[in-house]
Every structure is written in structure tokens, then in C-alpha cells.
């Protein structure tokens, strides 16, 4: 595989500065609505703030990849005397929880760095985080070329894992027939 130059986009998360306002969730869900900003629903956001004030635990987490199965263990971290569930840091849309899934379809959500059109100068969650818990950096890196699944493929893959590939093909065929009538 050949090497290519790629802009790496980094969001630095300073959990110590997070105040739990969830503005990042709000603007992410609104930005990804169609038409843009026509809907607010944090349950559709690609960032989630895990917070538990009574333990002073505040962790903003981005939606990463989709996972077909939940992981085996449930480790716990103790940082600065505070106990965190491992899941608090996990970016996966996995079967163990409802985070990072579209509420209606349960299709997985993934942060796209707001590369939607029109492309934003800075990710919107960063722009709306006035606490500076989220800051944005870009840097160039040489990486190996890989093929990335697009949104549709990720969604289909999730459905296939859940229902079986053949069932999906059958359903699509049925739906097509109905459309034609």
C-alpha cells in the first residue's frame, strides 16, 4: 500500500474543564439534522457527555466505530481518586448501551468532524464549548492508504450484523417491489 499525506484532525478533550452543559451535544445534533439546525435532539449527537456529579465525573466522548458485540470485561479506572467505568471512555456504538445510536432506527452514529457540507472551520462542538474543554488541532501525517466505509456502508453493516445479510437483501427487494406498485 502506498503512503499518502493526510490531515489529522485532533480534538483535545480536557475533561477537567468540562462543566457538563451538553452544548456540544446540542449543536452536533442540530448541525446534523436535515435541513440543518431544523431539529434538536441530543440523543442523535455524535458526542456524549458522561457525567455523574455526585462522583465529580465528567467525560465528553466522541462516537467512533460501530461494534457488533459488546466487549467481554468491564474494567474500571481510578484516576485521581475517582472511579470511572471503562465504558465512560469508549467510543463504540455497541449493543450494551443506547449511546451513539439513532433513537428510531438504532443505526450507529459516528463523529464526522463536521465535514458535512458546508465544511466548518472548526468542529461545531468545539465552537459551542465555551469552557474550552474541547479544543481543535490539525496536523499533517503520512499514513498508509486504506479504504474507509462510508456512512451508508457502516449502517448496512450494522443492520447485517443484527439481522443477517440475506434478510436485508430480501427486505430491500420487498421494499423495491412495493415502491413500484
Amino acid at each position: 500500500m502506498s503512503k499518502v499525506k493526510k490531515t489529522i484532525k485532533v480534538i483535545k478533550i480536557n475533561a477537567d474543564l468540562c462543566n457538563g452543559c451538553r452544548a456540544c451535544e446540542v449543536i452536533c445534533s442540530a448541525f446534523h439534522a436535515s435541513p440543518k439546525y431544523s431539529i434538536n435532539n441530543p440523543a442523535r449527537a455524535r458526542i456524549r457527555v458522561v457525567f455523574d456529579p455526585v462522583k465529580n465525573v465528567y467525560v465528553p466522548v466522541y462516537a467512533g466505530g460501530y461494534m457488533a458485540a459488546e466487549c467481554m470485561g468491564r474494567d474500571k479506572y481510578v484516576i485521581d481518586g475517582k472511579e470511572y467505568e471503562e465504558c465512560a471512555f469508549c467510543r463504540s456504538a455497541c449493543p450494551s448501551r443506547d449511546a451513539f445510536k439513532e433513537p428510531d432506527s438504532a443505526l450507529p452514529l459516528k463523529c464526522d468532524m463536521c465535514e458535512d457540507d458546508p465544511p466548518q472551520e472548526e468542529p461545531l462542538c468545539v465552537q459551542w464549548c465555551l469552557a474550552d474543554a474541547l479544543t481543535y488541532e490539525e496536523r499533517e501525517e503520512e499514513v498508509e492508504e486504506t479504504e474507509e466505509l462510508d456512512d451508508l456502508e457502516t449502517g448496512l453493516k450494522a443492520l447485517a450484523d443484527k439481522h443477517g445479510f440475506q434478510n436485508i437483501v430480501d427486505s430491500v427487494a420487498r421494499m423495491l417491489q412495493k415502491e413500484e406498485v
Binding site: N19, Y37, S38, I39, N40
Partner: protein, 663 residues
């Protein structure tokens, strides 16, 4: 499609267990917006004056505002409305936090609760699924602990919970409804919730809120955020630090408490300690506060972080959350010089669920009665000798309604009358039977006179705002101040400010003229009524000086979100005026009259009875009310709520204006 609102209310009858999802009439949104406005309409229609606070017929309404759950920053208020057991009037308190947006995401604008459950229950709302669940295991549990247990047993860490503590269960007249870092604490709403045997409401929602004109709306939201950022670097000059910024007073972040500790009164709203704030105190208090505050926290979709995670234990939990000025109310009420005491007792009191304003004043009142021989060792067996100990003692008695606590739990006004023996003399800081902020000043302030007298939230901080509290001595500073004062409705207000002097012809009490005083009061009040209808936090709107939300951008923000075309005139002179009069009418029907419209008796040393009477006359006229403070039939007719006037007429209220004492 409904925009900004969901268009549905949840009707819960706790007596029968009946649960209904009811579509609302979009016409009511046009007439009243939502939040407090539509709450007042429901109270008018469904809770006639014969209904007692502790009657199954009394409603307890949890409402979001019209903008709640939209991306508008700080649109997060939950407006709770019922008939108060203490004032026996319509009580409405608001809480911040996360409850109202979550309710909207679950698909409801309001939860309307009636009836009385036969046993202690809690409500669990998850989108379309609504359950009334047993809460017997939560009896006596602290408010925050209750919320933790519920989230755990439902396995719903993202659920938002509003709950009562022991005080609410025992119907203490100043008990609160607590919700994490926030509470609806004025007017004894928690007592009504307790009376209904409702320990808590938990809600989780995953549905959409729609915006009518998204591009326009988000642009306005971004402007609000940009202004907030700009103001962070450009505080207001020539005012105390606590008033220079935005948000609720930044009590958790600011250490300089000179203003509160020297300008407000200590004890039973008695003593000013003008030289309390020394370098030594500042050093000690800074240390205590830095040790207590673990993190500054915000409400839903707001950058202001007015609250904090506090590392003091409360009942079974190791931390609690605090906001605003409750760190000082207990300290000053107890005449304790120790801030640590404040953090210790506030957490405990919050767990029990009492109002951080009224609670300390009731306790300070009891201590005064004891010191003056009106309450004795018989009433207070084992009463400690130090004030801090006494406060803890009284807290436990009150929330359990044990011994004298049963009387004190009714608040200063009622307790004074139950105790007798001259105790009434010590009830000097209530309005309409409700404890007030402990401020005692010199010269009558005509603007505050009207605000305090006629405000039906019966809480000055929930009705005043935006105007510096004192004139700037230097005229140049005034000129500079008005230059970017874009938040005012008219030049009259700028002119008032430019001329306003600490002494002489252009000073209080005879400055400004009646008309200007009325305009200033109505402007301040109107801004709060807008917030309460749309669910915005006063901390970014009606309260601070030069806020990001104001009369000149709110009409457009509301219009863009809802698709209704509301201009400034419609918003102010029709909708808000309608809401204001509807609330007034609800209370007039319950006996509110001119005699109740007065400030705490000793709020100012220098009073001018004739002038004050004239002020009130002029203000009533300005409002379209008669000499008894009753909205006239014509006023109500002109606002499209003629049916309200007809009802008042049918009840003979216009003929027989003086009401019986409303108790």
C-alpha cells in the same frame, strides 16, 4: 407540525392512577407562549379559589418553556406552578438544570398532576412509556440520594430527576423541589408534591424538537454565545464584582463577598455588618471555598457554570451541588462567621429539601424569639448555646415537624401568629406571608418599592434586573455606560440613567417621575415574564446588567423558533401583559388586594407613606388596574381575556373590593 413545543401535555391523576397524553391547542401558544403563561391559564380554568393547597383538586404543574429544548443557550427552566400552602396564592418557582429539556425530548411540554396517591410513589417517564411506581423504599431519603437510587434502579444514568426530601414529605411550607444543582424552592412547592405523595419524577427522552426557521434561529443563538464570550472579557465597570458579569451571581467562582456580607443583613434580617469583610476573613473564606468547590458546573446548554460540585457530605452521599447565594444565607442567618458552616448545613438542608432563602430566616426568627423569652427551654428542650448548633437543631425539628418544629415549619408569618405572645413583632421581613431577602436600607427607592410591593413571584431577584442598583456618581461614566446599552426598550431609560444622581434633585425618592418609574418597573418585570414563558434562565436574560437576551432580540428569537410572527409590541403589550394580568386575576380571586402590595415593613428607614400611596395609585393606573390593584374589565377585555373579568364580576369582586383576610 409544532415548532419549539411538542404540542402535548401529560395529565396524571394520582388518585386513580390514570395517565393521559393530551394534545394542546396551538391557539394557546399564540395567546400565552408557554411555561408560566399557559400554567396560569390552566390554573385559572381548573383551580378555582375554593381549592385548598392541600386538596387533591390542587394541581402541581411541571412545565418547560416555549424555547426549552431548542438550541437557544440557557433555555432550560422548569416552571413549577401550584397553589402555595404558605401564601395561599398561585406559586411559581423555576429551576434550572436539565429537567425541562429532557421532558421536551420525551415528547411533553408539561406534566399536570392532580389527585393524591394513596401511598408514596414516583413517576417514570421514558418517551411514550409512563409509569407510576412504588416509592416506599425512598421514604425519608434525601432529595439527591433519591435521584441517585432511582437512576440506578431504572438503569438510566441519563434520566433527569426532580425530587423532594423529608421536608416535602412532611409538608413543610417552605420545602423545595430539588433537581441536582438546581431547585424550585420558593412558595413551598415541595409541600404540595409531598401532600400528593409524589416523591420524585424521573424523565428521559430521545425525541426531536423542531425549529421553524433553522438558519435564522441558529444565527441568533450564535450571536448570543458571541456576546457571552465578549462580556467575559468586558465586565461592567463601576458595579460590585458580583454584578459585573453574566449568569446567576457567580457565587461559586467569586471569593470577594464584601458586597453580600456588608450590604445585606445578618440574623433575622436585622444587623448590617459594614466592617465585616476584612483581609483576614477574605483569606480564610477563600481557603474554605477553594477546598469545597471541586468543579464549576452549568445547567443544560449554558456556558455560565453558576453551580459547583461541593465536596461536603450530605446524608449518605459524599458530595452535593450548590449554586448561587445559599453558601451565605445560613452563615448570615446564624450570625456565624464561618463559611465552612455554610457548606456543611446547606448540603444537609438541600437533602431535606428546604428553601435556602426562607429556611435560614425561619431559624434566625426562632433564635430571636428564644433570646427574647417568647420561646423558652420548654419549647426548645436541649437547645444548644451556639448559633451554629442551634441552626442544626432547628433544621432537624422543622423537617420532621417535631415539637416547635411543627409550628416553625409553617414559616415566619404563620408561626408568629400561632406562637402569639408578641411574636408577630418579629415577623418583619415577609411579603404576602413569604420570607424575603434580608436587605435593610436607608432611603426609599421608588422603583424597588413598586417591584417589591406588586411582584407576585414574591421574590425580588425574580422580578428586578438589568438596571444598576445605584447611580454612577461620575456623569462621564454614565455616558460611557449608555453608549452600548442596546438592551433597553426606549431612550427614556437611558435618559433616566444619565440624570440619576446619588443626591439632590435627581436622586431617590422623588426622582424619577411617576411615569418613568412605572416604565422602569414594567420593563424589568416584563423581561422576567418573558423568560418564564419561554423557559430562559434569568441569569442570561432579565437579571444581569446588559444581558445577551433582551427586549430587542427576543421577539425575533421566539419567532424564528416557533414560526409565529411576534414583534416587540405583540410580545410585550399583548402576550406578556395578558399573562401578567391572568396571574394577577388568579390571585385576586384568592383574595389578593392592595393591602397585600407592600414591601417588608422596615425595608427602608426613610419612608414616605403619602408618596408611596400615590406611587402605587399611578402604577395601578399604568397597569390598567383599579385602586385595589384589580385588573379592570376593560383591561382584560382589551387583552382578549374578557372571560376573566366576567368571572371576577360574577364573584362580586368588583363591587366588594376589599377582600376578607385571605386565610
Amino acid at each position: 407540525m409544532r415548532y419549539a413545543e411538542t404540542g402535548f401535555n401529560l395529565e396524571i391523576d394520582l388518585s386513580s392512577g390514570n395517565i393521559e397524553k393530551v394534545e394542546t391547542d396551538p391557539k394557546l401558544t399564540e395567546l400565552h407562549l408557554g411555561g408560566l403563561g399557559t400554567n396560569a391559564k390552566i390554573m385559572w380554568d381548573r383551580v378555582p379559589p375554593e381549592v385548598e393547597p392541600f386538596s387533591p383538586e390542587n394541581l402541581l404543574i411541571f412545565s418547560s418553556g416555549l424555547l426549552g429544548g431548542t438550541p437557544a443557550p440557557a433555555a432550560n427552566r422548569t416552571i413549577v406552578t401550584t397553589i402555595s400552602p404558605q401564601t395561599r396564592l398561585m406559586a411559581y418557582s423555576m429551576m434550572g438544570g436539565f429537567f425541562a429539556p429532557e421532558l421536551k425530548f420525551a415528547g411533553y411540554d408539561k406534566i399536570i398532576i392532580r389527585g393524591k396517591s394513596p401511598s408514596l410513589v414516583y413517576l417514570w417517564i421514558k418517551d411514550d412509556k409512563v409509569e407510576i411506581r412504588d416509592a416506599s423504599h425512598l421514604q425519608g431519603k434525601g432529595s439527591l440520594e433519591t435521584s441517585e437510587i432511582i437512576k440506578q434502579e431504572l438503569n438510566e444514568p441519563k434520566a433527569q430527576v426532580a425530587s423532594i426530601g423529608l421536608a416535602g414529605e412532611n409538608r413543610v411550607f417552605f420545602s423545595s423541589i430539588e433537581h441536582g444543582r438546581s431547585s424550585a424552592s420558593r412558595g413551598g412547592l415541595g409541600a404540595v408534591m409531598g401532600d400528593k405523595n409524589l416523591k420524585a419524577i424521573a424523565v428521559r427522552g430521545t425525541k426531536d424538537i423542531n425549529i421553524a426557521r433553522p438558519e435564522e434561529f441558529i444565527k441568533l443563538c450564535n450571536e448570543v454565545l458571541q456576546y457571552i464570550q465578549w462580556r467575559a472579557d468586558n465586565p461592567i465597570k463601576h458595579v460590585p464584582p458580583i454584578l459585573a458579569g453574566l449568569g446567576s451571581p457567580q457565587e461559586m467562582a467569586i471569593h470577594d463577598e464584601q458586597w453580600h456580607t456588608t450590604a445585606f443583613s445578618w440574623g433575622n434580617a436585622r444587623y448590617r455588618r459594614k466592617d465585616f469583610w476584612t483581609e483576614e476573613v477574605e483569606k480564610e473564606w477563600t481557603k474554605v471555598q477553594d477546598g469545597a468547590v471541586e468543579r464549576l458546573i452549568s445547567c443544560y446548554n449554558c456556558p455560565m457554570k453558576c453551580g459547583a460540585v461541593i465536596s461536603y457530605p450530605t446524608q449518605e452521599l459524599s458530595k452535593y451541588m450548590m449554586k448561587c447565594y445559599s453558601k451565605l444565607t445560613y452563615v448570615m442567618g446564624a450570625m456565624a462567621d464561618d463559611l465552612e458552616f455554610g457548606f456543611r448545613i446547606a448540603g444537609l438542608a438541600q437533602g431535606y429539601g428546604i428553601d435556602g432563602f426562607s429556611g435560614p430566616q425561619v431559624m434566625a426568627f426562632a433564635i430571636e424569639l428564644y433570646e427574647n423569652g417568647i420561646l423558652t427551654d420548654e419549647d426548645l428542650p436541649g437547645f444548644p448555646s451556639d448559633n451554629e448548633g442551634r441552626f442544626f437543631y432547628l433544621l432537624e425539628k422543622i423537617v420532621r415537624r417535631e415539637g416547635i418544629g411543627d409550628v416553625l415549619a409553617n414559616g415566619v408569618y404563620w408561626a408568629a401568629r400561632q406562637i402569639g405572645k408578641g411574636a408577630e413583632e418579629y415577623d418583619h421581613n415577609t411579603i404576602k406571608k413569604h420570607e424575603q431577602i434580608p436587605i435593610k436600607l436607608g432611603m426609599l427607592n421608588p422603583i424597588f418599592f413598586l417591584l417589591l410591593s406588586t411582584g407576585e413571584k414574591i421574590n425580588i431577584t425574580q422580578i428586578e434586573g438589568q438596571l444598576p442598583q445605584a447611580p454612577f456618581p461620575n456623569p462621564e461614566d454614565r455616558k460611557e455606560f449608555v453608549k452600548d446599552w442596546i438592551q433597553v426598550p426606549s431612550d427614556t431609560i437611558k435618559e433616566f440613567f444619565l440624570k440619576w444622581e446619588p443626591r439632590g434633585e435627581y436622586a431617590f425618592p422623588f426622582y424619577p417621575d411617576f411615569q418613568t418609574a412605572c416604565e422602569l418597573v414594567e420593563w424589568q418585570e416584563t423581561m422576567h415574564y418573558i423568560d418564564d414563558a419561554v423557559g430562559l434562565c434569568a441569569g442570561l436574560s432579565s437579571f444581569p446588567i446588559k444581558p445577551p437576551y433582551h427586549i430587542n432580540n427576543l421577539p425575533q428569537i421566539i419567532s424564528a423558533a416557533t414560526g409565529l410572527d411576534i414583534d416587540r409590541d405583540e410580545l410585550w403589550h399583548k402576550i406578556i401583559k395578558r399573562n401578567r394580568n391572568l396571574i394577577r386575576a388568579n390571585n385576586v380571586r384568592r383574595g389578593l388586594r392592595r393591602k397585600d402590595d407592600k414591601p417588608p415593613q422596615d425595608h427602608w428607614k426613610k419612608r414616605f407613606p403619602e408618596y408611596e400611596a400615590k406611587l402605587l395609585d399611578e402604577y395601578y393606573k399604568f397597569k390598567g388596574w383599579n385602586a385595589e390593584g384589580i385588573p379592570t374589565k376593560e383591561t382584560l377585555e382589551g387583552l382578549g381575556i374578557g372571560y376573566v373579568g366576567e368571572d371576577l364580576e360574577k364573584r362580586g369582586i368588583y363591587n366588594n373590593e376589599q377582600s376578607e383576610e385571605n386565610n
